[in-house]
Amino acid sequence: MSAVLLFWSVLIAQLLIVMAMGLAVFRLIRGPRAQDRILAIDTVYVNAMLLLVTLGIRTGSVLYFEAALVIGLLGFVATLALAKFLMRGEVIE
């Protein structure tokens, strides 16, 4: 009973998150300006992190947690560098 319930709720949650990622990718392609695209990239990173956490629940393995943490870190650094680039025109001054 609980296995069936969890199977379906995890599946639906993953579909919802993937839809959210799709919308963010749409904004990434559409723009219109660079800051919109960077915001979209940041959202895609956060959604990928949440997707990995749900994947961990689906497989019952705690390994995905570390992958989620790494994706979160990479997203943070990437967005920071891109925003800095937008501000100054170069990342390393």
């Binding site: 800051q35 943490l69 501000m87």
Partner: protein, 117 residues
């Protein structure tokens, strides 16, 4: 999904509820990313995913693994703390960059402000 069979029903219900809540909130945030008109409005949208969305998905994961292993599994808290601390940094830098660009390129894109200078 092999080892979820041993999970009691109440834990499965709680996990499902928080998972679906978090995923729905994240999706609404991304709908906002599409529907809102200006950049300054859109900057509000992803924070839904990083506050309530990430919070409830992490809570679902904590409930699931804690009940499954019958001991408190709390390392997912790190994800919540990490997201809460990093989101303001990136969004502040991004909105400042946007403000700077709007001031230099074309200031008519700036939204309504009380005292425009």
């Amino acid at each position: 999904m092999m080892n979820a069979a041993g999970l009691p029903l109440w834990a499965a219900l709680l996990t499902s509820f928080f998972l679906l809540l978090g995923a729905t909130v994240t999706l609404i945030g991304c709908i906002g990313l599409i529907r809102l008109r200006t950049f300054y409005e859109r900057i509000h949208a992803p924070t839904m995913g990083t506050s309530l969305g990430a919070g409830s998905i992490v809570l679902a994961s904590i409930i699931f693994f804690s009940v499954l292993d019958s001991r408190p599994v709390l390392h997912e808290v790190l994800i919540a703390v990490f997201v809460t601390v990093t989101t303001p940094v990136t969004l502040m830098l991004l909105s400042r960059a946007a403000l700077y660009r709007d001031h230099t390129d074309d200031s008519r894109k700036l939204p309504r402000s009380r005292d425009q200078d």
